[in-house]
Assembly symmetry: C2
Homo-oligomer: 240 residues x 2
């Protein structure tokens, strides 16, 4: 067993790299989906929204492929505890990415509804800014994974607080619009969901970052999973 | 290797049973959390809501324990492809349960906000009914897992359509209350989130059921992940 360990390790590494390549591809597709979905919303572009909905199938397929290949890798190479942890992390990251893809698809679906309502001034650009922030966080989180870079991972966690703040501001804004004019209510309900879903994508990027920290240091950050959605509570200080 | 296989298999089974016992314990805690959270909302019982928030820590801890034990089991026993699939499924189920626990906690948090607002007539009992349905679905999904019972798993999937319908009805109801009186808007936004989160718990129960089907038959149901939230789209027929 020990004589073979070097050979086994490199076969493992080669297989792992193939799976990581799938993760990076998934990441690229998810980033594009977020960007396109936000643009479709802002430009009221139903065709682009439809494209996002279609593209989600490829993301779902990649997640299945990652899970299958990871299970195959474990069964075939019987990785050591530390290598095993890496493979399980990769599987979790693919789940995080798949969820983000679902949220982007949901955003695109709601665009199809929102084009039939009168626009809420300023909402779409705010949402696009929030989406861009989340898109960058995802990219950073995946880079942090590939480079096992804890400081990059920590930056992702830090930036998630900005996203939460953007969401909280939008929540208050939508409340105001609804109270001003009941005809805004339905559109604002949809926009609010969109904002919430983007905030959740930020949580998934943060979750990837936390897994990188766990993988690299062996410990989760003490204040893991900071949740900045203040709208769910009275005071909220505990969550910052 | 082959001479040992029977011995290895039974050691694997023993370890797996220990992990499954943790899953069942998690399931019990999550079911209690959903029930208590819905009751706290209906009776405007802030203390009970606080209890739900506290209890979530035990659920989170169990998820970590399941992941650790499962990784240890894989590393130690190098399970066959089929046993490995079971362990990976158990890990996914624990993630589903942990997410449900988070949603129950979020529900409890919002109760703390809602007690300071005037009640929306009929909302809390409707939400409690929806929560009870989801609680039963979770119980059924876990029983289906333990008994590898595909027909029970299919019942869970079927009942999820009811939950989606309950959610869609509540969404429309909340819209009406908001349009009738702007003073209802803030409370309805919170109630709507609560309803959406319960609907998501139903999706997690369904996801557990689908994993049971995959584990037992080797195939995911063709129409896996039916999403019944019609509010995100114009027509919605595709999703039923």
């Amino acid at each position: 067993m020990h004589n073979d360990s070097k050979h086994i390790a490199s076969a493992f590494d080669r297989d792992l790299e193939a799976i990581q390549a799938m993760i990076m591809k998934m990441g690229g597709l998810v980033e594009a989906a977020i960007k396109d979905a936000a643009q479709a919303l802002e430009e009221r572009d139903v065709e682009l929204a439809e494209k996002v909905r279609e593209a989600d199938k490829a993301i779902d397929q990649l997640e299945e492929d990652v899970n299958e290949e990871a299970a195959r890798l474990i069964a075939l190479r019987s990785p050591t505890a530390s290598d095993l942890r890496t493979v399980l992390t990769v599987m979790k990251i693919s789940t995080n990415l798949e969820r983000c893809g679902d949220y982007a698809k949901n955003l695109a679906k709601r665009t199809g509804v929102l084009v039939n309502m009168r626009p809420i001034e300023g909402a779409a650009p705010s949402i696009r800014r929030m989406a861009r922030e989340v898109e960058e966080m995802l990219k950073l989180a995946l880079d942090a994974y590939i480079q096992r870079d804890v400081s990059m991972a920590n930056e992702v966690r830090h930036r998630d607080l900005d996203v939460d703040q953007m969401y909280n501001a939008l929540f208050r804004e939508f409340l105001t619009y609804m109270m001003e004019d009941p005809r805004n209510i339905t559109a604002c309900m949809h926009l609010h969901f969109i904002a919430k879903n983007i905030e959740r994508m930020g949580d998934h990027a943060t979750s990837i970052a936390e897994q990188v920290i766990y993988l690299t240091t062996g410990e989760l950050p003490e204040d893991a999973r900071p949740k900045g959605d203040l709208t769910s509570q009275a005071a909220g200080a505990e969550d910052l």
